[in-house]
Symmetry: D2
């Protein structure tokens, strides 16, 4: 059986002490195993990064950026391989994996602009003949800890920017689907990255805690669930590290009575069920304003969902695939059960989805639930499955109050044709990423990604402009030159007097 190892100093190694099984969620079978790094292995990766830092830091930004130019080309060249690896371990359909990879590549593209992004501010004459300027210097060795749901994209949110800013990077990807992440990182060597500047550590809590506690690690970027994000943030901060930790979400769409309903339904299909709802930006709640809108939404959604296909990752005709594990499959189903028990109406029921030939796969069918209320468990918690819940209200303000009362504030969307409603919503809603007729308002790579409230711990958002500030520290220099007589020049005709 293949063992997925560690990438340290440009080489793949297998420690061989502890392993964990990797499943193919489409079949439910174990396909590989992953090596779990010990503290010692993680420390070796840190030491190697520490050693590589001085030279990498002094490499001109444009040369660091050129590694990313080549990396982008290599990612495009190997896209099919990467998408297959994603599908085998995550279950994502190939077109969805390709979309994920593309969003990841966009972060590499942004990192190619490092020389522009790293420009400091220069002020002439802050006082008479005194100049001052700011530089944005790298932090040193920094780390990223990433979740299973985007094994290509989320790591690419982090290290391209960290690297071009002059840092060395250690990545700890999810142990459930590490292969695509590792394959991608190996391309960096071919792209020209010096060995040691970037390492990938597969592991579990031991690896994570080593990263959190080693003082040579200067910053941690994390994406995962809110309880873990909170732990990571507190521990990293307590250890004097910079940290940004992205957690859970419960993204609501408001469907206004004036919305283009066919368009809204079409958009919601992908936003709610794509990638089996295992996206932190998945739209899991639709809030219909007024009964007319509510009835239309339920009716059209129900009809549209008939043609959705769930099945194995390799069949591009499928709309979405299995969830990540059997345990998670059961958890999603339990949420649907609880909604039913608490009085909601299961309009389309995906609990008993069967995929011919893949009876052991971890499938859940697309599910639509009406008459959901804010006190239900299924509303309060993040389901992370292909479940769209509909809440009905009478006014837009009620819809907004619901959203603002939720503990998460990641993404949200409004469907309307009205400029004023859109503007009022986007201005006032307490959510970090807002869509106007855009159901998955994931910011493009040249903006930054971040939720509000308990969806993000930290000051700065992920990728985009904020990433430059996160991965650098500001140094401000103030300079005055006293006269050394050189300008007068004549003195210099007689150098013996010097």
């Amino acid at each position: 059986m293949t063992t997925v190892g560690q990438l340290i100093n440009g080489e793949i190694t297998v420690e061989g002490t502890r392993q964990q099984a990797i499943y193919n969620p489409s079949t439910g079978e174990i396909s590989k195993q992953v090596d779990l790094a010990s503290k010692k292995t993680v420390e070796e990766a840190i030491a190697v990064a520490q050693a590589a830092f001085p030279a990498w830091r002094n490499t001109p930004a444009i040369k660091r950026a050129r590694v990313m130019f080549k990396f982008k080309a290599l990612l495009e060249e190997h896209a099919e391989t990467i998408c297959t690896l994603i599908g085998e371990e995550h279950g994502k359909i190939s077109h969805d994996a390709a979309g994920e990879l593309q969003r990841g590549i966009e972060n590499v593209e942004y990192a190619c602009g490092a020389p522009e992004l790293l420009k400091g501010e220069h002020s002439k004459n802050v006082g008479p003949n005194i100049d001052s300027w700011s530089e944005f210097q790298p932090l040193g060795v920094v780390a990223g800890i990433t979740p299973f749901n985007f094994p290509a994209m989320v790591p690419l949110w982090m290290y391209p920017m960290a690297l071009v800013c002059g840092n060395c990077f250690i990545l700890k990807p999810s142990e459930r689907d590490p292969s695509a992440t590792l394959f991608i990182a190996q391309l960096l060597k071919e792209a020209g990255l010096p060995d040691g500047v970037m390492s990938v550590i597969n592991g579990d809590k031991e690896a994570v805690d080593t990263l959190l506690n080693d003082e040579r690690i200067k910053a941690i970027s994390f994406v995962g669930s809110t309880p873990i994000a909170e732990y990571i943030y507190a521990t990293a901060n307590g250890n004097g590290k910079r940290c940004q930790a992205l957690g859970g979400a419960k993204n609501h769409a408001i469907v206004m009575p004036d919305a283009d309903m066919d368009n809204a339904v079409n958009q919601l299909l992908g936003a709610a069920f794509g990638s089996s709802g295992e996206r932190c930006m998945a739209l899991s709640v639709a809030v219909a304003v007024g009964d007319v809108a509510g009835d239309a939404l339920i009716g059209k959604m129900q009809a549209a969902m008939q043609s959705l296909n769930v099945g194995p990752h390799f069949d591009a005709n499928n709309d979405f695939g299995p969830v990540i594990t059997q345990a998670h499959q059961q958890k999603v189903i339990a949420y649907i059960d609880s909604a039913e028990q608490q009085g909601a109406k299961i309009v389309v029921d995906g609990r008993h989805a069967k995929v011919l030939g893949f009876e052991n796969g971890f499938f859940v069918g697309a599910t639509l639930i009406d008459d959901v209320s804010p006190d239900m468990v299924s509303y309060k918690e993040e389901i992370f499955g292909p479940v769209l819940q509909v809440v009905r209200v009478q006014t837009m303000q009620q819809a907004m109050d619901l959203i603002d009362a939720h503990e998460y504030g990641n993404g949200t969307c409004i469907f309307t044709r009205d400029g004023e409603a859109a503007r009022y919503f986007s201005d006032n809603i307490q959510v970090g990423m807002v869509g106007i007729n855009v159901p998955l308002p994931v910011p493009v790579a040249y903006h930054s990604f971040g939720g509000w409230k308990r969806s993000l711990f930290g000051d700065l958002h992920a990728y985009g402009p904020d990433a430059v500030r996160f991965y650098t520290k500001r140094k401000t220099i103030t300079q005055r030159w006293p006269s050394a007589g050189v300008r007068e020049g004549a003195e210099f005709s007689m150098p013996t007097m010097k």
Copy 2:
């Protein structure tokens, strides 16, 4: 006896339950007392701010900025009063107080540029007919906790920027010298700030802990000693607040053999002894490179120090005044004692300074210590007194290694005429604020202030551009408009068909 009270909702109130004495450090006598706010009083201030927030947030940035335009004029108009209040409670000489106030006003001037500083980024066509932009929205109610050594300037680092970004602000100044701070804050009302948007709470740990634990407070800015900064940062973060906490310093100047020595000595006098060394940017260590430079430095400093005057705040002929308390006076003297005991050479001894007519004032004379080594207590810790210690090394690299080995990384300076030495130093030194022939490289208000290592906890520096990012949260909006048929127009000739 005058009681310094609380400024809440535009009114001064005195709770009257607990008080603390305020001393005049020049005379050693109690001059006033300060009311110490209870938790209840702090919560009232928070409630008032919370109520004022929605309207203030919606006030156009230019109108918020105009409050600062008037505030600047009022500060200039009342400068003399403010400087007197500073002198009476802090002991700072009037010209030094005027300098402090001026640096504070510069932050007000910067805040006047809010409409420019708050511009978000707009991207047309992030996809076909999809636009995206970022807004920087205020956090809500935020707080500042400030130290005794700059009762005018440090608060002005914080609230002008916080306010123009649309936040409401609660300030907890030092209880040792609160009067100038309070006087200044009262001018905001005359400047047009709505009541409740800004409150000043005088108090002690009870007030601080209320601010740290109340969930309505969204961010804390702190300046003080490193242990407290670390506590504030950990607590605020643990409570889900944004925080920047500035701590202690041990600022070194490297004196290179090619330095203009007269200029260096002249600069060091002010940087080491100004404000009795009670500045987080005070230059407290000079590192002489080579014996020739070292001997010249000691010789010229010793000579120059003869003409320094220490005495009461109101006499502008004095170069610096008393330290803040009798306890601190004793602590500074104890540091000098320890240096002597550990083998350093007291070249100029300020331990027995006597000021005629002010025998009970908390005075310490300017002190110069040679042959200091890194293992001495007086070198490791922040003295915060008028003491300049000289360390001698043989190379610039040794000097830099010393600086990098110290726990603090606030400010530093090099005296040299050589472009390459200056560039190597400013590039590599692990300190956040670097001077080249500038001994107090406090960034001007349109750059940002922040040390590295244990001198600052947090991602973002104080005031300047970083303050905009600190006092706002990023919201990214992605917008697509579906066609509603309006553009075709003809449909609208018959509105009944709509």
Copy 3:
């Protein structure tokens, strides 16, 4: 009779050779005369500015900005005097003059941010140990030539930014209403501007041509009619000067069928007739889409116009005042005549406006013309009077085609509630300043003002961010320091070897 003189080197002088009458348009009488500068006088102002330049250029930006802080306060203090002067010579009602002044002051406020606006870009390590940065240096002596219609605002678009960028400035205001302009400029001395840095030259073509041809003038900003703008631009450029020349306009509003018609009418009243239509951003054409919208617009406008008052400047109950001269009054009336002759329908006729007690004032009443077509003279040319012409079309695209076919491209507006219509319009229309339900989309001072097509000659717009680039030249510095052995230090222990 009062003679309005020249402001040179901080003093008002009267050359006394040639004069021109200044009228009070409300009464039709001559009220003052203005001194017309000879070439020699203009050259003296240039020489004085040239002499003042080196010191002003080297004044730190923050100190230059502080002149503007005081200038703003003085403008606010003297607002009433300024508005009276405007009214007496221009005819503008006091509330309108106050609005003009306020927009001017906003440019002064923006100029206060000079230290931020003048920051250059700094790049560390553009190559190994090579740094590079850009500075924005002042041009030298620059000039502004401004029109009669905004004697306070348009000059304030120019010189505050030019001055804080480090330039010296010579202003040639309109000879029809120079008093407010001159009064304002005199406040600069009190605000702390050194004598000679700014001069005001009253004059005619002789003065203008001197400015255009003197090689010491490095840049010209002009606002006026398109033929003159074109001449100024060509001549200035031919003489090696930088130039931005703003010309005429024909600003259209599209009224969509879904518009809030009451709001649209209310907005159009002010935008079409305010300041007697003598604004380059006046809305002079309304394009109604569909007959229903057209009929509603005409009906509601006609009704609303009944309550408009035209009369002398000093009566705040008036909505607008006279036009600038008798000749211009006749010209406006002739345009209305021509529209009538060419087949348009005069719905409200202002040709025979009589103001009791001011029978000789240069009044034209508010005029509404329906059924205007693009081939009419009154449509093709800029009327610059209180005349709103309505064109009727059937689709939004037809409305946009009309606008794009016109030679001018200054401002435009759409009235709609539909997000998609607004976005399509603002994206595609060939006009530089676009309003969505905002009839006078004059950019705020922290954006920049500029039309497209024949409304502006030059690359850069007026005021705001573009003004920084216009009033400075870029200098890029690339720096590498060869080792001089200073860093090694040991060499310096034996200075005799130096």
Copy 4:
């Protein structure tokens, strides 16, 4: 014989009416001929570009940037071919051609950052519920006219940025060495650029004048000699086009007495003689401050020049190759003659350079002239050959006065180790691009290129940040949404009431 044709609409065509010979300067023989486009052909290219514009303008910036990502890879892949083409027609040695190409590619890299560079400024609440933002929209069809000396680099300064900003582009390269330029442009198709968006027109004055006079061309970028630059600028501006026209240079290096002389000499060798001095940034004058520095400079230069090799382009051992034409060879020699006749001292004489086997090549040897004075013809005019002239002065100020008195202000450099001299020089010298110990201070691609005085006509510099502003026009949008009742929502439960 090969005929170099036109690239229009993605196809190479040969009009065949008029041709001009292309020489191989290393052999002196005719190698190819170039087709000279008629007015009709140019107009066809314009029409094609005009047609391609709407779709290209609406292509998201990131997609336009991706064409540049591929273009960069193709340029690197075909580098050898390109360098050979440059060598054959220009005479440049392969390593020099590779350097040129690399600088060109850096502009392509910068253009890849288009989505970041095109961000507009967004202001929330410029007034109550009114937002305003700026967009930078493309101009339409723009053109570039480029010189023989950098057939790869200078075109790449222009069109990558113009294209990613959304413009269509027509390039008119030098007719002396068009092949490399054409080859490069053909790669754009493979990189994914739609046909018609970019055309290359080979031709002479007829082609140039067509571009200058056709109103569909919205902007012209030009690099060449100052008289032509002035003509281009005046004509383009007169025709309502935006223009930037870069002209000639006379770049001085100041050699200070404290300079590291070996380093200075080493740098000057390449800067003066590289590419036979046919660079607008070539260092053609060295100003020695003091006789000691002057004598050392002459002595060391003379010695170092012994090892310089001049010869054919294909031999990488050569340091530089022939000049572009026989006529130019004679002109360079005539300048050396004139210097000699006017009293200068020819220290190293390159007038009689012979290259074995290439006796008909257009070679001029490296020439060093001492005792040059400002009144000599060879000093006043641009030689554009491998000639370094030395002027001797006694003070740095005299050296700076010389530079400031020259009509050109392109580049300059100072050799010194002194921070104050460097700062004074870079601050005050009237030259746009300044080197401190950097003899060819060509700004990197993420800064902008531009001289001062008669070295550049126009407001904005070439490439880098200024190019974004040059190739776009600013549109400012101000938006307010009137309430349409949609937010209240309840109204919408009964759509029949709408």
